[in-house]
Amino acid sequence: MIQQAFFAYFAFVITILSLLIVTRKNPVHSVMWMLLLFFHIAGMYLFLNAEFMAAIQVIVYAGGILVLFLFAVLLVNIREELQIGKYIGAAPTSFTFAVGLFVVIVMSLRSFVAAPPGIYSIELIKQETHTKALGKLLYTEFLYPFEVASLILLVAIIGAIVLAKRRLKS
């Protein structure tokens, strides 16, 4: 019973905050609601026994990505932003598309069949601790994708510098 109550709270708040993010006129307000949303998603990961993912969610999203968004929001002229409309002309079409997509996903959930359970039961993870179990898997079976992810981050660093730097006068 208490689990359902926890889930209901998190699901309600996450839905309301997502709606607030896409409907606010002021981008700074959207960023602030998004901060609250990321903390609630981290809470939901804790509820799913994924402590390491909750920590990563708070550190990477709330600590890194949202700060980047706040810096970019500084570029926007807020006073002008508050006077013009917030949607482009195709908004009714995109609303219909989003509702249709939601209906299709929910309909397809009825034919979902879960895979047979694997070896990482809650007792095993509790015995070995979550971070250690995840690290063992990451550095043995998923070592090659992990290296590729580091390459992607390197490409992002170089690409961001090349795109954002001022062109040199020649």
Partner: protein
């Protein structure tokens, strides 16, 4: 015990809201935030499934999604800065060089 399908419906709701924001908003920064919203919906699905079928591989996949989301945010905001320097606008409907 909360059934798995509740988490999947929650993920679908957040994903649909993200799709709506991505397709309809005028400000390009909020368009990027909608992409982050969709990636978070996928992460909720991955982590809840990995918990329910007792396999950590879903969480590894969510880990990589977070890494790619960080890279995508850095590149995307660099593109926003380059756009702002060339056109002095942050609205997607004022950028129509490609006749789209």
């Amino acid at each position: 015990m909360v059934p798995l399908s509740w988490y999947m419906v929650l993920g679908a709701v957040v994903f649909a809201i993200g799709v709506f924001g991505f397709l309809s908003r005028k400000n390009i920064i909020i368009v990027f935030m909608s992409i982050e919203l969709m990636l978070n919906a996928v992460n909720i699905n991955l982590i809840s499934m990995s918990h329910y079928i007792q396999d950590l591989r879903g969480q590894i996949l969510a880990f990589f999604v977070i890494a790619v989301a960080a890279a995508e945010a850095a590149i995307g905001l660099a593109i926003v800065i380059a756009l702002f320097r060339n056109k002095a606008t942050a609205h997607v409907d004022e950028v129509k060089e490609m006749q789209g």
